[in-house]
Subunit: 152 residues, 4 copies
């Protein structure tokens, strides 16, 4: 998938809280992981990802990896925007992409990905049930096609 296509793209914007800073005077690096998770929550709300249905089928998505790159710091009371999207759907999991920017200047602060793998009730890695993941894949493909058409 081209880098500039971001299916299920969602933005959420909020102020940096005082407690999220550290003695360097900037947002502590662990906090961006929580911002990314909040971006994922906003994505689920906006696109109606039926996660509870996956759980009702006896599966869950466990976080397996996080990668974050830090480009510039955010500070107390800054308005930041978390951009989150689905980067890839594999047979056994989903990868989300993130970009955190200053809400005003759109300056890039942090980029990252999280990988989530499907596990059953015994915590064994397994394929995501097709009846759950296929509609998600279709939405993704439709958004990618229309993005490409816009580009062409």
């Amino acid at each position: 998938m081209p880098e500039d296509i971001r299916p299920l793209y969602t933005e959420s914007t909020f102020h940096v809280r005082y407690a999220e800073t550290d003695m360097m005077g900037v947002v502590h690096h662990s906090q961006y992981i929580i911002y990314m998770e909040e971006g994922r929550s906003a994505l689920s709300r906006k696109h109606n990802i039926p996660y509870s249905e996956l759980e009702a089928m006896g599966y869950s998505l466990a976080l397996s990896a996080v990668k974050v790159r830090y480009h510039a710091p955010a500070r107390y009371d800054d308005l930041v925007t978390v951009c989150a999207w689905v980067k890839a759907i594999q047979s056994r999991g989903i990868t989300f992409g993130y970009e955190i920017v200053d809400a005003g200047s759109r300056r890039q602060l942090v980029t990252g990905i999280t990988r989530h793998i499907c596990v059953d009730r015994e915590c064994r890695v397994c394929q995501m049930p097709p009846e759950w993941v296929n509609p998600l894949k279709q939405t993704m493909q439709e958004q990618m096609s229309s993005s490409q058409m816009e580009v062409e």
Copy 2:
């Protein structure tokens, strides 16, 4: 001051983040202290409290006490509203009041106060400079008068 008068009253509303929950399935009790602080930040933004001017004069407000009562729990993805106001201005400090409610039902979740005392650069407790605190007191009194007139 009557309990129902809340000068410099400010509301801020946001979703509970996943990371803010604990293994009981509810928001961890320490997190409401951070919500209260975020309410205080929103109050400062809304009413233009010139805190940086106080610091420029060589003073700061140090947190001296927190009291919180827990009435009902908030859960992941709940939309909560933090209500913050100035409860009292003393010669050497300020007391803020807080009420955290469910944004939809307005059900009361948490109530609390924080006390802040004025300290100079040597961390000695001292009176707040009148040129800084008097305009704040005046705004407060005006709001209280108009509240009482509405009641009458």
Copy 3:
């Protein structure tokens, strides 16, 4: 109970983590609530409080109130000691007391209490089951008697 008697007294000592500081260069005030909770965990471990038995009987202890007073700040890498004890056992709940000090100098940093009330599976406030709370009360009384004898 005299102020200087602290039944089930327990100390735990650890380093302040970098992430626990804020842009003031000191430990963020919400963090001490987590230190107090860690002190309570250490107390339960040391004195074998059978909390899981209470849960097996269908009850739990819900936090109902927190009060904290801030006397002096802790900083990054400081070694701090959390002192925790049972302050009172009421028919429907337990109150814990806390004092957080600098581990080296024993300088007082923070004092506080937490109140916990007994609730049943329907979240109704209720009396603690005597078969669970009576042994705890007895331990407490024995420790208070021996403390007083030491004083006498």
Copy 4:
């Protein structure tokens, strides 16, 4: 450097705090980043890394990247051990390696790295001053040599 050589290797062991869990009943994934940082603090204490000297020379080490892989969850009150070591020293930065294990069983829970780059007072990336980094490199090489001799 072979994978099994871990210069400046340091272990720190502590209990999982209640507030560190989330509604899944396990330690929240962002918390391990803080555990890793605490491992780095322990390494600095143990091996006397003179970080304040670097700052006195006008430089600091800024976090530029974090990678974490999650293998198994830790739970409330678990005793966990954070293993931290220097993975590589480059001309413009340092990479640390981490392994978090269950303290009793030594079961692997989380692995990760953090990259830190040297910046000057104007936040420009620059080489680390040789008088600061060379002693560190030497310690590292000595430990690697003796490790290899043990292996041979």
